[in-house]
Amino acid sequence: MKTAQPTWEDLNAYVDGELPDERAAEVAAALGRDPQLAEQVAALHRMKGSVGRLVTDAPVDLPRVEARRPSWLRGGLALAASLALVTLIGSLWMFLAAPPPAYAVWAERALTSHRAWPAGPQASAGEAQRLQLAAQRELGPAAFVPDLRAAGLTLSHLGAGPRADGRESLHLGYRGARGCRLSLFLLSGGLGLEEALQDLGSLDSGVGDSDARGHQPGAHEAVAWQANGLSVLLLAEGMDPSRFAEVSRRIFEASFQRKAFDSEVRQALRQNHQDSARCLV
């Protein structure tokens, strides 16, 4: 029978309520006899209580998780099924929904702007830096202007984007070395978007490529969300869907965190870029 003086482990387990009843009774008896032990148990209780009060709210900018988060954007059969469904829903929605949401109208116009953005070479590093600073000045500290060079995309264009609800948006154009183009549109204020990635499906049902999603020439990917008071729209054409998914996920997360990509994210983007197929333009 264990009746020895309580060990330090015993005292801890006693405070945690983890001792068997019999041993707990023995420890309690020992505490009654030994004021020093009792003080140690009291200190353990105080410390345990203090640690318990360290629980803080999870960060307010915790990205929200929707069923349509990037998991659906990744490859495989699930992707094919999802895209087919989204395309179908998108097509039906274009015909049946009236009027379309404000963000959908904005997105349609943004696609036009994206296509009107002239082809050209990637900006030099200095020019990209200048555009980055200009965009950040334009948007203010609330916005995050992503540096996508790790993903093989250089900020090469900064201009006015389409208006929505009387507000002018900003168009940031990123170019790859082999003709890839990705557009990021930022609009101050809400536009009915959620704080979650939303697949906008096929935007231009009247142009003829509404069923051309996937990695095909002319097929476009478009996602949008709201973050920190900004409406954000990201779209690209002819880009490997897995690459678009990775880039959009990273920008989505960064738009809430408002911080530059860390080395781990940059490495992931770099790896994704290497693993993905080249753009079809």
Binding site: E9, E18, D57, L62, V65, S71, E194
Partner: protein, 193 residues
């Protein structure tokens, strides 16, 4: 606390543990930004899991294990920190150690939230983790054992060693504060810092 999107039962069930998961993530990662990323990844995995334990203690342990595995995956990618979980030689707490701890016996003020937080931050991950699981997340020894994949008896040893280390860190902190020459003078207010 912002709620995770959606109103489904799975999300509602998970929301209940978000703050404690975040506290555990901070104890592992050592900074809130990485912890937020860990939490995010864990939420995604938990919500996309096909099989979710129905029993609440098992569910709780399952959530914390997801987060821990995510952290370990990060460590594997970051080789410079791969030794963070290295096991240490077994320590035994002898009577002499207990007398050292007695320095805190009568000082109630030292054991407050701020000083505990600062002391906890100075501990190795292996100590922070077990303290976070037991005292912050509120897991039982058997639940923590499941998260850590060790016997419950090991949890009992680890938590006692970790608290010993925490007491020592508090004690060191106390001495430094009281003797530091740069301590603010004549403020009329005493600070735990």
């Amino acid at each position: 606390m912002k709620k995770v999107a959606g109103q489904g039962l799975a999300r509602h069930r998970l929301e209940h543990y978000l703050d404690r998961l975040f506290g555990y993530a901070v104890s592992l990662a050592g900074d809130r930004e990485t912890a937020a990323e860990l939490l995010h990844d864990s939420v995604v995995k938990a919500l996309s899991a096909r099989r979710v334990p129905m029993d609440e203690p098992a569910y709780r342990a399952w959530l914390f294990r997801i987060l821990r595995n995510g952290f370990i995956d990060r460590l594997r990618r970051d080789r410079s920190r791969s030794g963070v979980f290295d096991s240490q030689p077994a320590e035994s707490v002898e009577a002499q150690d207990l007398r050292q701890l007695a320095g805190l016996r009568g000082d109630h003020q030292i054991v407050n939230v701020l000083t505990v937080k600062l002391a906890l931050e100075r501990l190795p991950v292996r100590h922070r983790e077990i303290v976070a699981l037991i005292d912050l997340a509120g897991l039982t020894y058997s639940e923590a054992a499941e998260v850590l994949d060790v016997p419950p008896g090991t949890v009992m040893s680890r938590i006692s060693r970790a608290r010993q280390a925490l007491f020592m860190a508090l004690n060191e902190s106390n001495v430094r504060v009281l003797t530091k020459s740069s301590r603010p003078k004549s403020t009329g207010k005493e600070s735990a810092l």
